[in-house]
Symmetry: C2
Subunit: 218 residues, 2 copies
Protein backbone atom coordinates (compact mmCIF):
# COMPACT_ATOMS: atom_id res chain seq x y z
CA UNK A 1 0.00 0.00 0.00
CA UNK A 2 2.87 2.33 0.80
CA UNK A 3 4.69 1.34 -2.37
CA UNK A 4 5.87 4.58 -3.99
CA UNK A 5 5.55 3.26 -7.55
CA UNK A 6 2.47 4.20 -9.45
CA UNK A 7 1.30 0.81 -10.69
CA UNK A 8 -1.49 -0.58 -8.48
CA UNK A 9 -0.45 -3.61 -6.40
CA UNK A 10 -3.60 -5.38 -7.63
CA UNK A 11 -2.32 -5.07 -11.20
CA UNK A 12 1.05 -6.54 -10.23
CA UNK A 13 -0.71 -9.36 -8.36
CA UNK A 14 -2.67 -10.29 -11.50
CA UNK A 15 0.37 -10.50 -13.80
CA UNK A 16 1.52 -13.93 -12.53
CA UNK A 17 -2.03 -15.24 -13.05
CA UNK A 18 -1.95 -14.08 -16.67
CA UNK A 19 1.51 -15.62 -17.00
CA UNK A 20 0.37 -18.98 -15.69
CA UNK A 21 -2.36 -19.20 -18.34
CA UNK A 22 -0.01 -18.02 -21.09
CA UNK A 23 2.54 -20.66 -20.11
CA UNK A 24 -0.10 -23.37 -20.22
CA UNK A 25 -1.28 -22.16 -23.62
CA UNK A 26 2.30 -22.12 -24.85
CA UNK A 27 2.87 -25.69 -23.64
CA UNK A 28 -0.28 -26.70 -25.48
CA UNK A 29 1.18 -25.25 -28.67
CA UNK A 30 -0.95 -22.11 -28.92
CA UNK A 31 0.75 -19.10 -30.51
CA UNK A 32 -2.03 -16.55 -30.20
CA UNK A 33 -4.79 -16.05 -27.66
CA UNK A 34 -7.80 -13.80 -28.00
CA UNK A 35 -8.62 -11.33 -25.30
CA UNK A 36 -11.92 -13.17 -24.75
CA UNK A 37 -10.24 -16.55 -24.17
CA UNK A 38 -7.61 -15.03 -21.85
CA UNK A 39 -10.47 -13.45 -19.93
CA UNK A 40 -12.28 -16.78 -19.63
CA UNK A 41 -9.14 -18.58 -18.50
CA UNK A 42 -8.17 -16.02 -15.89
CA UNK A 43 -11.72 -15.04 -14.92
CA UNK A 44 -10.76 -11.37 -15.16
CA UNK A 45 -12.63 -9.16 -17.64
CA UNK A 46 -11.00 -8.33 -20.99
CA UNK A 47 -11.19 -4.70 -19.96
CA UNK A 48 -9.30 -5.40 -16.74
CA UNK A 49 -6.60 -7.33 -18.60
CA UNK A 50 -6.20 -4.56 -21.19
CA UNK A 51 -6.02 -1.93 -18.48
CA UNK A 52 -3.40 -3.88 -16.52
CA UNK A 53 -1.20 -4.50 -19.53
CA UNK A 54 -1.49 -0.90 -20.74
CA UNK A 55 0.73 0.19 -17.83
CA UNK A 56 3.63 -1.56 -19.50
CA UNK A 57 3.19 -0.97 -23.20
CA UNK A 58 1.09 -1.96 -26.17
CA UNK A 59 0.32 -5.65 -26.31
CA UNK A 60 -2.16 -7.45 -28.52
CA UNK A 61 -3.78 -6.43 -31.75
CA UNK A 62 -7.43 -5.71 -32.28
CA UNK A 63 -9.16 -8.67 -33.91
CA UNK A 64 -6.09 -10.90 -33.52
CA UNK A 65 -5.30 -11.08 -29.83
CA UNK A 66 -2.11 -11.53 -27.89
CA UNK A 67 1.02 -13.37 -28.96
CA UNK A 68 1.34 -16.05 -26.26
CA UNK A 69 5.14 -16.24 -26.26
CA UNK A 70 5.71 -12.52 -26.57
CA UNK A 71 3.30 -11.57 -23.80
CA UNK A 72 4.62 -14.29 -21.47
CA UNK A 73 8.21 -13.10 -22.01
CA UNK A 74 7.16 -9.49 -21.45
CA UNK A 75 5.41 -10.35 -18.16
CA UNK A 76 8.49 -12.28 -16.99
CA UNK A 77 10.61 -9.20 -17.72
CA UNK A 78 8.16 -6.85 -16.01
CA UNK A 79 8.07 -9.03 -12.89
CA UNK A 80 11.83 -9.36 -12.98
CA UNK A 81 11.74 -13.16 -13.01
CA UNK A 82 13.40 -13.45 -16.42
CA UNK A 83 16.78 -13.33 -14.62
CA UNK A 84 15.65 -15.86 -11.99
CA UNK A 85 16.28 -13.71 -8.88
CA UNK A 86 17.30 -15.31 -5.59
CA UNK A 87 15.00 -15.60 -2.62
CA UNK A 88 15.99 -15.86 1.04
CA UNK A 89 13.79 -18.10 3.16
CA UNK A 90 13.74 -17.58 6.90
CA UNK A 91 12.17 -20.41 8.87
CA UNK A 92 12.90 -24.00 7.86
CA UNK A 93 9.86 -25.44 9.63
CA UNK A 94 6.95 -27.20 7.98
CA UNK A 95 5.66 -24.23 6.01
CA UNK A 96 9.16 -23.18 4.97
CA UNK A 97 10.03 -26.71 3.88
CA UNK A 98 6.77 -26.98 1.94
CA UNK A 99 7.67 -23.74 0.15
CA UNK A 100 11.19 -24.97 -0.68
CA UNK A 101 9.91 -28.25 -2.02
CA UNK A 102 7.30 -26.46 -4.03
CA UNK A 103 9.79 -24.02 -5.59
CA UNK A 104 12.06 -26.95 -6.38
CA UNK A 105 9.31 -28.69 -8.30
CA UNK A 106 7.70 -25.85 -10.14
CA UNK A 107 9.71 -23.60 -12.38
CA UNK A 108 8.47 -20.24 -11.11
CA UNK A 109 11.41 -18.06 -12.16
CA UNK A 110 12.86 -17.77 -8.66
CA UNK A 111 15.72 -19.65 -7.08
CA UNK A 112 16.44 -20.18 -3.41
CA UNK A 113 19.58 -18.24 -2.53
CA UNK A 114 19.74 -18.83 1.21
CA UNK A 115 17.78 -20.60 3.95
CA UNK A 116 17.91 -19.55 7.59
CA UNK A 117 16.56 -20.89 10.85
CA UNK A 118 17.08 -19.83 14.44
CA UNK A 119 16.90 -23.41 15.72
CA UNK A 120 20.53 -24.50 16.17
CA UNK A 121 19.43 -28.07 15.41
CA UNK A 122 18.16 -27.06 12.01
CA UNK A 123 20.73 -24.45 11.13
CA UNK A 124 23.93 -26.01 9.84
CA UNK A 125 21.81 -28.90 8.59
CA UNK A 126 20.19 -29.39 5.20
CA UNK A 127 16.56 -28.93 4.18
CA UNK A 128 15.38 -29.92 0.70
CA UNK A 129 18.95 -29.78 -0.54
CA UNK A 130 19.65 -26.33 0.91
CA UNK A 131 22.17 -25.68 3.66
CA UNK A 132 20.42 -23.98 6.58
CA UNK A 133 22.28 -21.03 8.08
CA UNK A 134 21.71 -19.60 11.56
CA UNK A 135 19.39 -16.58 11.78
CA UNK A 136 22.30 -14.55 13.11
CA UNK A 137 23.86 -14.70 9.62
CA UNK A 138 20.86 -13.16 7.81
CA UNK A 139 21.98 -9.54 7.31
CA UNK A 140 25.54 -10.44 6.30
CA UNK A 141 24.61 -13.29 3.95
CA UNK A 142 21.77 -11.41 2.26
CA UNK A 143 24.02 -8.38 1.72
CA UNK A 144 26.89 -10.44 0.30
CA UNK A 145 24.65 -12.34 -2.10
CA UNK A 146 22.69 -9.19 -2.99
CA UNK A 147 19.42 -10.98 -2.29
CA UNK A 148 16.44 -8.64 -2.62
CA UNK A 149 13.52 -11.03 -2.01
CA UNK A 150 12.60 -12.94 1.13
CA UNK A 151 9.88 -15.14 2.56
CA UNK A 152 9.32 -15.30 6.31
CA UNK A 153 7.90 -18.54 7.70
CA UNK A 154 8.89 -18.24 11.35
CA UNK A 155 6.56 -18.09 14.38
CA UNK A 156 4.94 -14.75 15.22
CA UNK A 157 7.35 -14.07 18.09
CA UNK A 158 10.43 -14.21 15.84
CA UNK A 159 9.07 -12.38 12.79
CA UNK A 160 9.94 -8.79 13.72
CA UNK A 161 13.56 -9.62 14.48
CA UNK A 162 14.24 -11.58 11.29
CA UNK A 163 12.47 -8.87 9.29
CA UNK A 164 14.82 -6.25 10.74
CA UNK A 165 17.83 -8.39 9.80
CA UNK A 166 16.53 -8.88 6.25
CA UNK A 167 15.97 -5.15 5.84
CA UNK A 168 19.44 -4.47 7.23
CA UNK A 169 20.84 -6.82 4.61
CA UNK A 170 19.12 -4.89 1.84
CA UNK A 171 16.04 -6.98 1.09
CA UNK A 172 13.43 -4.95 -0.79
CA UNK A 173 10.38 -7.20 -0.86
CA UNK A 174 9.09 -9.68 1.71
CA UNK A 175 6.31 -12.25 1.70
CA UNK A 176 5.43 -12.68 5.37
CA UNK A 177 3.46 -15.71 6.52
CA UNK A 178 3.86 -15.01 10.23
CA UNK A 179 0.62 -13.69 11.77
CA UNK A 180 2.25 -10.38 12.65
CA UNK A 181 1.89 -7.33 10.47
CA UNK A 182 5.34 -6.26 9.34
CA UNK A 183 5.93 -2.90 7.71
CA UNK A 184 8.73 -0.61 6.67
CA UNK A 185 8.61 2.67 4.73
CA UNK A 186 10.91 1.54 1.91
CA UNK A 187 10.36 -2.23 1.79
CA UNK A 188 7.39 -3.87 0.10
CA UNK A 189 5.72 -6.33 2.45
CA UNK A 190 2.94 -8.72 1.57
CA UNK A 191 1.49 -10.02 4.83
CA UNK A 192 -0.16 -13.31 3.96
CA UNK A 193 -1.85 -14.58 7.10
CA UNK A 194 -3.35 -18.00 6.45
CA UNK A 195 -5.91 -17.51 9.22
CA UNK A 196 -7.35 -14.41 7.58
CA UNK A 197 -7.54 -16.28 4.26
CA UNK A 198 -9.59 -18.98 5.96
CA UNK A 199 -11.78 -16.41 7.69
CA UNK A 200 -12.66 -14.83 4.36
CA UNK A 201 -13.43 -18.31 3.03
CA UNK A 202 -15.85 -18.90 5.89
CA UNK A 203 -18.14 -16.21 4.51
CA UNK A 204 -18.80 -18.30 1.41
CA UNK A 205 -19.42 -21.46 3.38
CA UNK A 206 -22.40 -20.16 5.27
CA UNK A 207 -25.78 -21.89 4.98
CA UNK A 208 -27.80 -20.90 1.92
CA UNK A 209 -29.49 -17.62 2.55
CA UNK A 210 -26.79 -16.57 4.98
CA UNK A 211 -25.49 -13.86 2.72
CA UNK A 212 -24.13 -11.84 5.60
CA UNK A 213 -26.40 -9.08 4.48
CA UNK A 214 -28.67 -9.26 7.49
CA UNK A 215 -28.27 -6.27 9.78
CA UNK A 216 -25.96 -7.62 12.46
CA UNK A 217 -26.98 -4.90 14.87
CA UNK A 218 -30.70 -5.34 14.35
CA UNK B 1 -15.25 -14.24 -9.42
CA UNK B 2 -18.24 -16.38 -10.31
CA UNK B 3 -19.72 -15.90 -6.86
CA UNK B 4 -23.41 -15.04 -7.39
CA UNK B 5 -23.66 -12.82 -4.31
CA UNK B 6 -23.38 -9.13 -4.85
CA UNK B 7 -20.73 -8.21 -2.31
CA UNK B 8 -17.31 -7.87 -3.98
CA UNK B 9 -14.84 -10.63 -3.03
CA UNK B 10 -12.28 -7.90 -2.31
CA UNK B 11 -14.59 -6.49 0.37
CA UNK B 12 -14.99 -9.91 1.97
CA UNK B 13 -11.21 -10.41 1.84
CA UNK B 14 -10.66 -7.16 3.77
CA UNK B 15 -13.08 -7.98 6.61
CA UNK B 16 -10.68 -10.39 8.41
CA UNK B 17 -7.97 -7.71 8.20
CA UNK B 18 -10.25 -5.21 9.90
CA UNK B 19 -11.16 -7.88 12.45
CA UNK B 20 -7.54 -8.59 13.28
CA UNK B 21 -6.90 -4.94 14.11
CA UNK B 22 -10.12 -4.66 16.11
CA UNK B 23 -9.19 -7.75 18.13
CA UNK B 24 -5.78 -6.30 18.90
CA UNK B 25 -7.34 -2.99 19.93
CA UNK B 26 -9.81 -4.86 22.12
CA UNK B 27 -7.02 -6.81 23.80
CA UNK B 28 -5.24 -3.52 24.45
CA UNK B 29 -8.36 -2.25 26.23
CA UNK B 30 -9.59 0.16 23.55
CA UNK B 31 -13.36 0.58 23.36
CA UNK B 32 -13.61 2.97 20.44
CA UNK B 33 -11.48 3.49 17.35
CA UNK B 34 -11.62 6.42 14.97
CA UNK B 35 -11.95 5.83 11.28
CA UNK B 36 -8.55 7.50 10.81
CA UNK B 37 -6.76 5.17 13.24
CA UNK B 38 -8.43 2.09 11.76
CA UNK B 39 -7.28 3.29 8.36
CA UNK B 40 -3.69 3.73 9.58
CA UNK B 41 -3.67 0.30 11.19
CA UNK B 42 -5.08 -1.53 8.19
CA UNK B 43 -3.47 0.67 5.55
CA UNK B 44 -6.80 0.92 3.74
CA UNK B 45 -8.37 4.35 3.26
CA UNK B 46 -11.16 5.47 5.58
CA UNK B 47 -13.36 5.73 2.51
CA UNK B 48 -12.63 2.12 1.55
CA UNK B 49 -13.41 0.91 5.06
CA UNK B 50 -16.68 2.88 5.18
CA UNK B 51 -17.69 1.57 1.76
CA UNK B 52 -16.92 -2.04 2.73
CA UNK B 53 -18.85 -1.86 5.99
CA UNK B 54 -21.81 -0.10 4.38
CA UNK B 55 -22.71 -3.36 2.60
CA UNK B 56 -23.66 -4.81 5.96
CA UNK B 57 -25.28 -1.99 7.88
CA UNK B 58 -24.55 1.23 9.67
CA UNK B 59 -21.45 1.11 11.83
CA UNK B 60 -19.60 3.95 13.45
CA UNK B 61 -20.71 7.45 14.31
CA UNK B 62 -19.42 10.62 12.79
CA UNK B 63 -16.91 12.30 15.09
CA UNK B 64 -16.83 9.32 17.46
CA UNK B 65 -15.72 6.33 15.43
CA UNK B 66 -16.39 2.63 15.68
CA UNK B 67 -17.16 0.61 18.77
CA UNK B 68 -14.32 -1.93 18.82
CA UNK B 69 -16.26 -4.78 20.40
CA UNK B 70 -19.43 -4.19 18.46
CA UNK B 71 -17.76 -3.99 15.08
CA UNK B 72 -15.57 -7.04 15.78
CA UNK B 73 -18.63 -9.08 16.77
CA UNK B 74 -20.51 -7.89 13.68
CA UNK B 75 -17.63 -8.90 11.37
CA UNK B 76 -17.44 -12.32 13.03
CA UNK B 77 -21.18 -12.77 12.39
CA UNK B 78 -20.92 -11.54 8.79
CA UNK B 79 -18.05 -13.94 8.06
CA UNK B 80 -19.90 -16.74 9.81
CA UNK B 81 -17.05 -17.46 12.21
CA UNK B 82 -19.06 -16.55 15.30
CA UNK B 83 -20.32 -20.18 15.35
CA UNK B 84 -16.79 -21.57 14.77
CA UNK B 85 -17.53 -23.56 11.58
CA UNK B 86 -15.66 -26.75 10.81
CA UNK B 87 -13.02 -27.03 8.12
CA UNK B 88 -11.95 -30.15 6.24
CA UNK B 89 -8.27 -30.35 5.40
CA UNK B 90 -7.17 -32.60 2.56
CA UNK B 91 -3.45 -33.29 2.46
CA UNK B 92 -1.58 -33.95 5.70
CA UNK B 93 1.84 -33.15 4.25
CA UNK B 94 4.11 -30.33 5.33
CA UNK B 95 1.85 -27.48 4.25
CA UNK B 96 -1.26 -29.18 5.65
CA UNK B 97 0.45 -29.88 8.95
CA UNK B 98 1.69 -26.29 9.13
CA UNK B 99 -1.89 -25.12 8.61
CA UNK B 100 -3.24 -27.45 11.32
CA UNK B 101 -0.63 -26.36 13.80
CA UNK B 102 -1.31 -22.76 13.00
CA UNK B 103 -5.07 -23.08 13.43
CA UNK B 104 -4.46 -24.88 16.70
CA UNK B 105 -2.40 -21.99 18.02
CA UNK B 106 -4.32 -19.01 16.80
CA UNK B 107 -7.96 -18.57 17.65
CA UNK B 108 -9.28 -17.77 14.19
CA UNK B 109 -12.90 -18.81 14.64
CA UNK B 110 -12.57 -22.05 12.70
CA UNK B 111 -12.15 -25.58 13.94
CA UNK B 112 -10.73 -28.56 12.13
CA UNK B 113 -13.55 -31.03 11.53
CA UNK B 114 -11.75 -33.66 9.48
CA UNK B 115 -8.30 -34.34 8.02
CA UNK B 116 -7.74 -36.53 4.98
CA UNK B 117 -4.74 -37.90 3.15
CA UNK B 118 -4.41 -40.35 0.29
CA UNK B 119 -1.17 -41.80 1.65
CA UNK B 120 -2.19 -45.00 3.46
CA UNK B 121 0.76 -44.50 5.81
CA UNK B 122 -0.61 -41.14 6.94
CA UNK B 123 -4.29 -41.93 6.86
CA UNK B 124 -5.40 -43.80 9.95
CA UNK B 125 -2.56 -42.06 11.78
CA UNK B 126 -2.62 -38.79 13.73
CA UNK B 127 -1.38 -35.36 12.71
CA UNK B 128 -1.34 -32.48 15.20
CA UNK B 129 -3.89 -34.31 17.32
CA UNK B 130 -6.28 -35.00 14.43
CA UNK B 131 -7.07 -38.48 13.17
CA UNK B 132 -6.24 -38.69 9.46
CA UNK B 133 -8.85 -40.39 7.30
CA UNK B 134 -8.25 -41.88 3.86
CA UNK B 135 -9.11 -39.66 0.90
CA UNK B 136 -11.71 -42.24 -0.15
CA UNK B 137 -13.79 -41.19 2.86
CA UNK B 138 -14.00 -37.49 1.92
CA UNK B 139 -17.48 -37.23 0.38
CA UNK B 140 -19.17 -39.39 3.00
CA UNK B 141 -17.47 -37.83 6.02
CA UNK B 142 -17.95 -34.25 4.83
CA UNK B 143 -21.63 -34.91 4.14
CA UNK B 144 -22.24 -36.56 7.50
CA UNK B 145 -20.53 -33.79 9.45
CA UNK B 146 -22.13 -31.09 7.27
CA UNK B 147 -18.73 -29.50 6.67
CA UNK B 148 -18.96 -26.58 4.25
CA UNK B 149 -15.34 -25.34 4.23
CA UNK B 150 -12.21 -27.06 3.00
CA UNK B 151 -8.54 -26.44 2.39
CA UNK B 152 -6.65 -28.46 -0.21
CA UNK B 153 -2.93 -29.00 0.39
CA UNK B 154 -2.29 -31.99 -1.86
CA UNK B 155 0.08 -32.17 -4.87
CA UNK B 156 -1.19 -30.80 -8.19
CA UNK B 157 -1.92 -34.25 -9.59
CA UNK B 158 -4.37 -35.13 -6.80
CA UNK B 159 -6.17 -31.78 -6.48
CA UNK B 160 -8.93 -32.25 -9.04
CA UNK B 161 -10.01 -35.59 -7.61
CA UNK B 162 -10.18 -34.48 -3.98
CA UNK B 163 -11.98 -31.31 -5.06
CA UNK B 164 -14.66 -33.41 -6.79
CA UNK B 165 -15.09 -35.49 -3.63
CA UNK B 166 -15.39 -32.38 -1.46
CA UNK B 167 -18.00 -30.90 -3.79
CA UNK B 168 -19.88 -34.21 -3.80
CA UNK B 169 -19.92 -34.07 -0.01
CA UNK B 170 -21.48 -30.60 -0.07
CA UNK B 171 -18.53 -28.30 0.57
CA UNK B 172 -19.32 -24.73 -0.49
CA UNK B 173 -16.00 -22.92 -0.21
CA UNK B 174 -12.47 -24.15 -0.83
CA UNK B 175 -9.04 -22.65 -0.26
CA UNK B 176 -6.81 -24.42 -2.78
CA UNK B 177 -3.03 -24.36 -2.37
CA UNK B 178 -2.35 -26.88 -5.13
CA UNK B 179 -0.94 -25.18 -8.25
CA UNK B 180 -3.94 -26.22 -10.31
CA UNK B 181 -6.83 -23.91 -10.96
CA UNK B 182 -9.96 -25.51 -9.54
CA UNK B 183 -13.40 -24.18 -10.37
CA UNK B 184 -17.04 -25.08 -10.04
CA UNK B 185 -20.16 -23.06 -10.89
CA UNK B 186 -21.67 -23.21 -7.41
CA UNK B 187 -18.64 -23.53 -5.15
CA UNK B 188 -16.45 -20.61 -4.12
CA UNK B 189 -12.79 -21.42 -4.77
CA UNK B 190 -9.85 -19.30 -3.75
CA UNK B 191 -6.84 -20.59 -5.65
CA UNK B 192 -3.82 -19.53 -3.62
CA UNK B 193 -0.74 -20.54 -5.55
CA UNK B 194 2.36 -19.75 -3.50
CA UNK B 195 4.49 -19.51 -6.67
CA UNK B 196 2.34 -16.73 -8.11
CA UNK B 197 2.53 -14.88 -4.79
CA UNK B 198 6.32 -15.02 -4.99
CA UNK B 199 6.31 -13.95 -8.63
CA UNK B 200 4.32 -10.84 -7.76
CA UNK B 201 6.80 -10.17 -4.96
CA UNK B 202 9.69 -10.34 -7.43
CA UNK B 203 8.41 -7.18 -9.10
CA UNK B 204 9.13 -5.16 -5.96
CA UNK B 205 12.58 -6.63 -5.49
CA UNK B 206 14.00 -5.36 -8.74
CA UNK B 207 17.03 -3.06 -8.75
CA UNK B 208 16.23 0.61 -8.13
CA UNK B 209 14.99 2.18 -11.31
CA UNK B 210 13.67 -1.13 -12.54
CA UNK B 211 10.09 -0.08 -12.22
CA UNK B 212 8.95 -2.49 -14.88
CA UNK B 213 7.72 0.50 -16.78
CA UNK B 214 10.31 0.22 -19.54
CA UNK B 215 8.77 -0.92 -22.81
CA UNK B 216 9.51 -4.62 -22.78
CA UNK B 217 9.11 -4.87 -26.53
CA UNK B 218 11.35 -1.90 -27.31
Amino acid sequence: MREPRRIPPATIARLPLYLRELEELGEAGQDVVSSRVLSELTQFSSEQIRKDLAYFGAFGRRGIGYSVGHLAAAIRRILGIAEEPELALVGAGRLGTALLRYLGRRHAGLSVGAVFDSDPGKSMGQVEGHRVLPASAIAEEVRQRKIRLAAITVPATAAQEVFAALVEGGVQAVLNFAPVKLKHPSVFVHNLDLATELQALAYYGQAKGGTGRERPDA
